[in-house]
Assembly symmetry: C2
Homo-oligomer: 114 residues x 2
Amino acid sequence: MSREPNTVFIGRKPVMSYVLAVMTLFSAGNEEVTLRARGQAITTAIDVEEITRRRFMENMSVNEIHIGTEELPMEEGGTRAVSTIEIILSAEARPREEAKATQEPKASATEVPK
Amino acid sequence: MSREPNTVFIGRKPVMSYVLAVMTLFSAGNEEVTLRARGQAITTAIDVEEITRRRFMENMSVNEIHIGTEELPMEEGGTRAVSTIEIILSAEARPREEAKATQEPKASATEVPK
């Protein structure tokens, strides 16, 4: 796993610290945020997505999920296969902003001046 | 999670017992097999998919992945949210069978008899 922008690498920290990281990246204007995890942290990655979407960002959705395997070198030599997950999240325009946009009257050629 | 056909519920058994269950369902003629897991077993579900595909069934692929949340009742009352995963696997026609099929000459109206 290399360092990439807009990517949150899930490890052993408390779930809420990753939820905060995701929300910070979206608040900074990113349209997509990627979660990456391997081994037992995979469950945490899914917890992060579910908690973020259900509690904090209902406008967020899961775009893609990729699963795979990484070969990790072992101290005693050889490699060990470990499962990985990549969850690509995207945030749509917030419903409130959408509603506001449709309420704003458009400047129209047929508009009758009072 | 209700009992459904072609579904393997992933729990705390060794990974290989679930790999065997998946291969048994495909061998029985099912075109799709679903893995379901929640909580820490989610990582095992992904291990099962990766091991089955990489070691035993290269013609198998992941069709869909759904993640979600289930509210589990707690002994002391109330509920606890737990993340879930559903992985839908499908097996295409085996490459060997495909190759065999294309090698077989078709009976054709333009075929010239010897």
